[in-house]
């Protein structure tokens, strides 16, 4: 295990409190937690790609960054209109 894998593990830990926020608080607070988790996910994927020396996983991080953005926009639009 190298430093990148340890960093990925360290960055995975905050997902649990963010999940708790998404479950227990208002939906709009859950959206904020979801966006924060998306930013975390991109960094976790970057760390895992470097930690395991798998160059194709960098593309997964790029796709995750795009999907975080698109998903967040859809949820923000939905919550702003219908809640």
């Amino acid at each position: 295990m190298n430093a990148f894998v340890w960093a990925a593990i360290g960055l995975l830990v905050p997902f649990f409190p963010l999940l708790a926020v998404a479950v227990w608080r208002r939906p709009i607070d859950g959206l904020v937690a979801l966006e924060c988790a998306g930013a975390l996910l991109v960094l976790v994927l970057l760390c895992l790609a470097e930690g395991f020396h798998r160059s194709f996983e960098y593309a997964v991080a790029i796709v995750a960054a795009l999907m975080t953005w698109i998903g967040g926009l859809v949820f923000a639009r939905f919550l702003g209109r219908w809640l």
Binding site: E35, S55, L79
Partner: protein, 96 residues
């Protein structure tokens, strides 16, 4: 020397991300939480990118890491603005 730099950069990135998540958890208003969520996509992301570039330099992996962090950095403000508008609408509806 490179290993020490990578360790320091990654440790700082993890600490700052934890601080941002703590802000999302404990700040009193939704706008404050959004502020901390936005911060998660800026400085810690560049610290991780710097650590990756220390190892990869400008190879294919390094360039893809730059692309991922650039997407995060440049697209996230649009998302935050849209979310802030949604928060304002929701709070206006709740107060009326």
């Amino acid at each position: 020397m490179t290993n020490v730099a990578v360790d320091i950069l990654l440790a700082l990135a993890v600490l700052l991300e934890l601080a941002c998540v703590a802000g999302v958890l404990f700040m009193p208003t939704t706008f404050d939480r959004l502020h901390y969520a936005g911060a998660a996509a800026t400085v810690p992301a560049f610290l991780v990118l710097a650590a990756v570039l220390c190892r990869e330099h400008l190879s294919g992996g390094g360039l893809e890491a730059i692309a991922a962090v650039a997407l995060l950095f440049f697209l996230f403000p649009v998302l935050l603005t849209s979310t802030a508008r949604a928060i304002a609408r929701v709070e206006r509806k709740e107060s009326s």
